[in-house]
């Protein structure tokens, strides 16, 4: 058999291959040759063959069949054989193959070999890929070598010990005695590796940590010598002696000083010295400074030192080398929470970094800028951040927009500024704004009551320019729906009011509906907005028919959500037109949910009531209230709080509950069933009446009022039963029972109640809204009444069905006496 080709030949041949297939062919041929050569058990060429195999392995081809051969090479006496053998072992073998255990014995022998290079090889291999079993077996040998005087071996043994500890932590204390005089070595290499070993031991075991704390003075001394000593050619890098050792020592000091006052005390001076004396012109010096800064931040250093560290970081920011700027920004981000004021001083530099070309620097600068925003610098910072938003990559825009919204919410100097900022974000980065920001923004807008006209005007103008950015379009259409009346009336104080007619507004909204750019969610928003405008704008028949037409078109839309809305609005127009104004009334101010920082609970009493009462000037609520008004006028001029329907079919659930407290929570229950979830007012928490006046209402607590029939006409009989509510005896709980003795079911039975302003009333859900015929069942409904001033009240049942028109009937006043 001819001698196998040399490694060089093989490499050259393979490199001449022009295609992957050609290369594969050559390799396969060579592998076959190698395999037959292995079978012949030829010692002379084994080394060469394995070397070739390793080369092919590096190219990515499988080479497992060489594993055993590597072991044979390791066992050989020749150094070259051993070398290739160990290399092969490191490349081809790993823990998961059982074959590697066969190496253990060889390594053991080699660790005791006479030649230090062989020992070195063995240590190296053990250190790189030794498994836990191997480490356990050979730890003793390693420990012995750790104590030898040969520095070449000591270095390797130290790092090998590190590996052993990582694999088998329990063996750590075996190495403890050997570490005693490691630090007194003169040899830098040994020193370096010893520090690494100590670091590893301290990181893994808190007891070791406390044991090694006493080494702090020694470490400080070594570090000092390093800095003070003159030029040492061996370890010098650009004029700094052994920076790697310095960095390692600093790192060990960091671990030792963390949380411990005495050690930190001992280190303060040397840290200050390193920080001030190290040359910063080259990367090397900066590497040391960076490690120093990290150490200062972690240990219990005095404040002067910390300020020094932050100043170093600030200087890094001005450096031309972007690596250093990156590193500085990362560290500043970590320290900004604890040393906020010190970092603030470098704010302008950080903001400049927003304009850097490197993506990771920009990201860190952005995060840091958000962390630094506070009430004082909000205007300036926001300008920079908005400019950044304009010009940054799309990946950043979402985060930046969210950050800007958060910052603006927390620190906005004025409402107008806030709205302007939001507008700016929506128009520049509109499509990247997160979906959950839309409801937040809407809530914000409703809160800034005086700015409604201004906001809607600006949003309208933005909409005219561009309808592609969905969040902007959604917010804008919601606002136009809500405040459309302000828009057309041209009453903006902040800005030049624009003249826009109702038809133009409807044009825009319809345009949104048909545009291809609108998502289904946006279409939903605009449909609702158009519907709301039917009550906000003056009721010109042509306009109403236009709106009705739009709504009915979408009743057959493919999109289920849109279809449902359209159908319900259609129903509103057709059958429940009298309810439409009440349903589509102005939204109350929403309470913020807890997630976005401090919740601004809208303070009720004065402000809210006035807002709601203001909107009553608009011609929307009168219909159901008018009859109640007529009735209640009979009471002799008490002013009345009319029935207010505050459920709006489609909005994301507002916490209107709080508002409804004061004004008497009247809910039209079981009304038009297509209305989805008239949810909010249905709740029955006792909060409704608790916070209010606690005048004892019913002096006669023990009196039980007997049940009575409130209404009994045309087959419909309504009975009231009374009791006091348990948690609050000031509340009377009236349960009505409605039964029907006619032959037809009464469908859509609705019980409404109106009270004078001094009363509080809460209607809970009825059991159903169909009163079955022939007294087969009854509808029950619970009413809770709080009567702080003992004024009379009427109850007026109003059944809905074909044969009954809205009829009022008076209840005899004797009920009232009982309530008083």
């Amino acid at each position: 058999m001819p001698a196998p080709i040399r490694l060089r030949e093989l490499i050259r041949t393979i490199r001449t291959a022009r295609t992957q297939a050609e290369e594969r062919e050559m390799i396969q041929k060579e592998c076959a040759a190698i395999r037959s050569s292995f079978r012949e058990e030829d010692n002379t060429y084994r080394c060469r063959n394995v070397a070739k195999l390793l080369y092919m392995h590096m190219l990515g081809y499988p080479a497992h069949f060489g594993q055993l051969e590597c072991l044979k090479l390791i066992a050989s006496q020749k150094f070259t054989d051993k070398r290739i053998g160990y290399l092969g072992a490191m490349l081809l073998l790993d823990e998961r193959q059982d074959v590697h255990l066969l190496m253990t014995n060889c390594i053991k022998n080699d660790l005791n070999h006479s030649t230090q290079y062989v020992q070195g090889l063995a240590l190296c291999t053990l250190g790189c890929m030794g498994s836990s079993e191997m480490c356990r077996d050979l730890a003793g040998e390693v420990e012995k070598l750790l104590k030898t005087s040969n520095s070449y071996l000591r270095k390797k043994a130290a790092l090998c010990a590190v590996h052993v500890i990582r694999k088998v932590p329990e063996l750590m204390e075996m190495f403890l005695p050997a570490t005693k005089n490691l630090l007194s070595e003169k040899n830098h290499g040994v020193l370096h590796t010893s520090v690494v070993l100590l670091t590893e031991m301290c990181e893994r075991s808190p007891d070791m940590l406390s044991h090694f704390r006493k080494l702090v003075p020694q470490l400080v001394r070594i570090l000092k010598n390093l800095i003070m000593s003159g030029y040492s050619p061996e370890h010098d890098v650009s004029g700094i002696s052994d920076p790697f050792l310095q960095v390692r020592i600093l790192r060990l000091l960091r671990i030792l000083g963390k949380g411990d006052d005495d050690s930190s005390e001992a280190m303060n001076d040397i840290l200050a010295q390193v920080a001030t004396n190290t040359e910063t012109s080259k990367n090397v010096g900066n590497a040391i400074l960076y490690e120093t800064v990290l150490t200062i931040m972690d240990i219990k250093s005095e404040s002067g030192l910390r300020v020094l560290a932050i100043n170093i970081l600030g200087r890094f920011l001005l450096n031309n080398d972007k690596n250093i700027r990156y590193v500085a920004l990362t560290s500043l981000l970590k320290t900004v929470q604890t040393d906020h004021n010190a970092v603030q001083r470098h704010r302008s530099t950080i903001v400049d970094c927003l304009k850097d070309l490197d993506v990771s620097i920009k990201r860190r600068a952005m995060e840091l800028s958000f962390a630094l925003v506070n009430g004082n610098n909000i205007r300036g910072m926001m300008k920079e951040l908005l400019y950044f938003l304009d010009s940054c990559d799309p990946d950043f825009k979402a985060d930046c927009a969210s950050g800007i919204f958060l910052a603006a919410e927390k620190y906005a100097p004025s409402k107008r500024w806030h709205i302007d900022t939001i507008m700016r974000v929506l128009t520049t980065a509109g499509s990247y704004v997160r979906d959950d920001s839309v409801p937040n923004l809407i809530q914000l807008i409703t809160n800034s009551v005086q700015m409604h006209a201004y906001t809607v005007q600006r949003l309208y103008k933005a909409l005219l320019d561009d309808i592609s950015q969905q969040p902007l379009v959604q917010v804008a259409s919601w606002c136009i729906g809500e405040y459309g009346d302000l828009l057309v009336s041209g009453q903006c104080e902040e800005e030049e009011p624009i003249q826009v007619s109702e038809d133009e507004v409807l044009d825009v909204l319809e345009g949104l509906l048909v545009s291809n750019l609108s998502t289904p969610v946006t279409r939903g928003y605009s449909l609702t907005a158009i519907m709301k405008l039917s009550t906000r704008f003056t009721c010109v028949p042509k306009r109403m028919s236009r709106i009705k037409k739009v709504v009915s078109i979408y009743g057959s839309s493919i999109d289920v959500e849109l279809q449902q809305r359209a159908v319900e609005y259609n129903a509103l127009f057709k059958k429940y037109d009298h309810m439409r104004p009440a349903l589509l009334e102005r939204m109350p101010i929403m309470e913020k949910t807890g997630t976005n920082g401090p919740a601004e609970i809208v303070q009720t009493n004065g402000e809210t009531e006035s807002t709601i009462l203001d909107t009553k000037h608009l011609p929307n609520i009168t219909q159901p209230a008018s009859q109640a008004n007529d009735l209640l006028d009979l009471l002799g001029g008490n002013d009345v709080v009319p029935v207010i329907q505050t459920t709006v079919p489609t909005k994301p659930a507002s916490a209107g509950g709080e508002l409804l407290d004061l004004l008497g929570d009247l809910s039209l229950t079981g009304g038009p069933t297509p209305t989805p979830a008239p949810s909010v007012p249905m709740s029955q928490p006792p909060f409704l009446l608790d916070g209010l006046t606690s005048q004892p209402l019913f002096n006669d607590i023990a009196a039980v009022i007997p049940p009575m029939t409130a209404y009994n006409k045309n087959g419909l009989k309504i009975e009231f039963t009374f009791e006091r509510s348990n948690p609050n005896p000031n509340i009377a709980v009236i349960t009505i029972h409605a039964t029907n003795s006619t032959e037809a079911d009464m469908t859509e039975f609705v019980f409404q109640a109106a009270v004078p302003k001094t009363f509080q009333l809460q209607l809970l859900s009825p059991s159903s809204n169909v009163v079955p015929a022939l007294n087969q069942g009854s509808v029950t409904q619970v009413i809770r009444v709080l009567n702080p001033q003992k004024v009379r009240c009427y109850c007026e049942p109003r059944p809905h069905s074909a044969s009954y028109r809205s009829r009022s009937s008076e209840i005899s006043p004797f009920i009232l006496k009982h309530l008083q």
Binding site: L159, R166, T193, V196, D242, A287, Y290, V327, D358
Partner: protein, 161 residues
Amino acid sequence: MNEAKCSWLGLIFSPVVLVQIRFILIQNRAGKTRLAKWYMQFDDDEKQKLIEEVHAVVTVRDAKHTNFVEFRNFKIIYRRYAGLYFCICVDVTDNNLAYLEAIHNFVEVLNEYFHNVCELDLVFNFYKVYTVVDEMFLAGEIRETSQTKVLKQLLMLQSLE
């Protein structure tokens, strides 16, 4: 003995600290690996995947990017010398600048050893390159930083061949 016992107990509660350097790679622009030294256990296909990912991440960056890349949950510190990328994969908490210096140190040693090293030198003498790596790094840590010392050792080893 007491000390030893206490330290053993302390081990149960201490977090496991992983290797500092996870791997060292030398790749050329085309993606061919000239050296791959792994200090952590990976499957063969994992290794291949890692190599490809590192190549993809590192070759798209140019001079205006920093030399540090966040990669999965570690960091890669790399530097380009002519057509070769020298990459070291470390923990996110490590000192970037120090490892950058380590790379440069390593390249300078290679330069001295091979007398103005070029890519072909690394190809034809790959086993010698591994030796250099093993002289300077071990068990995922920097072992020897003095260039003169390393070169002396390497020449001794060479004489044994």
